[in-house]
Amino acid sequence: MSTSSRPSTARSAGPRDTTGSGRPGPARGRASFLRKTTMRTYSYWFYAPAGLVYTVIFVVPTVVSFYFAFTRWTLFESEWIGLDNFKQFFSEQQLRQSLWNTLFYATFTSGMKVVLGMIFAVVLTSALRSRGLLRSLVFFPVLVSVVAVGITWRVLLNPRTGIVNEVLSWFGITGPDWVGNPSTALLSVGIADVWAGVGLATVIYIAGLMSIPREYYEAAEVDGASGWKQFWGITLPLARPATFTVIILSLIGGLRRFDLIWTMTGGGPGFASDTIASVIYKQYQAGFYGLSTAGNVVLFILVAVIILPLNSFLRSKEVDL
């Protein structure tokens, strides 16, 4: 993701932890030299096709949306109304609640994906029978359309006929009306989101874990470190790039998650599981195109404000192998 653009000197901070496992080897100087030469060798023109697509379908609409956010827009004609849309958006029905919901949702799903993804990855990189099958099973939900995931989970969570409450009733537990109850609606969507997305986190983690050289573990074993110590002292710090990738990807995904929320609860009941994305969509749905564009600008800024500092903070904590 991030290797090419940063000057290599910035990452020479090395591992911060005191375990002493990941001392940087002498190879780093050579690696950064190689990186510089490869950067010079290839022409910037190689960027052109991707850059063109990126400009047409991302940069242009983004810039244009900044204009329409200040208008009352019917798709045919627009009238400049200054900051009215932003005033309206911030006085929107329970916007504060939906802001809080968005943050909760993003943090919850991101945290669960980090923890579960790590656990799955550790299990699935160990010497396990039918490992390939299990890996496929964990990854499978990622391949399913999000809308299908939402509809399936709504059926599973139905209070009277759903499997989840049926199973709970075997243990004498009366399950709640998961998506119909305001206090559990957003959590239910979050659980479905983790189910659907943890496979991706696992794959990233597996790649991260496989890139940790075996020598560290061998050395640790010689020194008599237990499995838990090895995990804590080697796996966890050296999988940091993967952790940070998972955090950033799932946090962005959670902040702008819309499809799953819409298919499962429609932001409801009432406004209980509204996030910024669903509030924006409702404005668009009602034909308030300018207002919904203003909402998108707000979401854009919110994501940027959260992710950019977080990203540079996490980068500063990265270790080099």
Binding site: Q93, D259, G270
Partner: protein, 442 residues
Amino acid sequence: MRSSRLTFVGAAVAALALASVSACSSSGGGSGSDGSSSSDGGSSAEQVEITLLTDDAESTLPQVDAVIAAFEAKYPNITVKATTRPGGSDGDNLVKTKLATGEMEDVFWYNSGSLLAALDPANTLVPLDGTDAIANTNESFFPSVTVDGKIYGAPWGDAMGGGILYNKEVYADLGLEIPKTWDEFAANNEVIKAAGITPVLGSFADTWTTQLFVLGDFCNVAAAEPDWATKYTANQVNYADDPVALRGFEKTAAPYENGWLNSDAGSMTFDQAMAALAAGDAAQYPQLTFPVGSLSAEDGAKIGFFGIPGDDAAKACGTIWMPSGQYIPAASEHIAEAEQFVAFVASPEGVAAMYEAVPPTGPSLVNGVTTPDSAYPVVDDIKAYIDGNNSAALEFLSPIKGPSLEQITTAVEGGQTSAADGAAQYDADVVKQAKQLGLEGW
């Protein structure tokens, strides 16, 4: 070292690519088929295919099939290809987007009244004044499809009542009478509850179904203040400050407060609620009358209708909905054929074909139509209100309808929001719509 790092980067990129692919696949499923122009190289070059967009209600689909079959039998040179859209605000969104992008079907069926006004008909629809399309239409329908002096729609379907659907067998078993006041309604509910039957159904999974206590209560508002709708359009009255209008929101909150509501209201759908009502698991469902048509003749005969009760038994009234309309988008390439189809649907012949498939649930607004014997008994309940105390629903008297009403009433009916807060929220919601329509006084 470097290569393992690159492996990781490669895996991350691949994972990202997969994520975006699955994102695409989830968003691509929306728009239905856009009518492939029929250029079958045969000699009959006049063969034309037109497309039709309808809602996807269970009672609509058989009518669509029946009327198309009858139409194609009469006009063999025209074939009609039908697609469906969801109801509620998802449907509103689809219709608006299709019109804005010029991809609307040649004919579409959609609400009359304020929702039509929000489509900007002057720019998007073909006016039907003086055409055959509305030759058989009853004049009383025109105000609900007229915008800025031009008529844009012909009727399809029946006039509807909006209030309480009730199970007659439950009422008979418990010896209940149709309530004429809210107090009688409350007393009935306590009897029903004591018998172990759900008094009032809520179906929050289809949020549009929660609006009926507010919208259906309008005849009581109009009875108290006949020019309320005009004042409302001019921003002189609102829900929060008018004690009579506020009653609609208070009535919405009442079932939850009094324990009349089904426990699984939060995730119940519209279809499930109708089934529960017909099965006698519940006694009453605040709803329009059209879904009675989705029930079998036997089940449909069990269902009756009464208006939302007010405070004065002598003024008990019903709120009446106009039929939906059929519209032709200005961007259609087959306007002449589309008009022929619209005229057929809004003719005694077309209505008869639809009645064969689904017996009527209300009076028709097409001239020359007689209600057949197969009609559901609920038609008589509606006719009684049409002959007695009634008012058209607010959405046919004022162009303003706030888009968030269904979420607000869901929150009120589920006990999350108080009636007074809900009314105030709706008043704020309406301001946006009025401004977007460019109305004066807002």
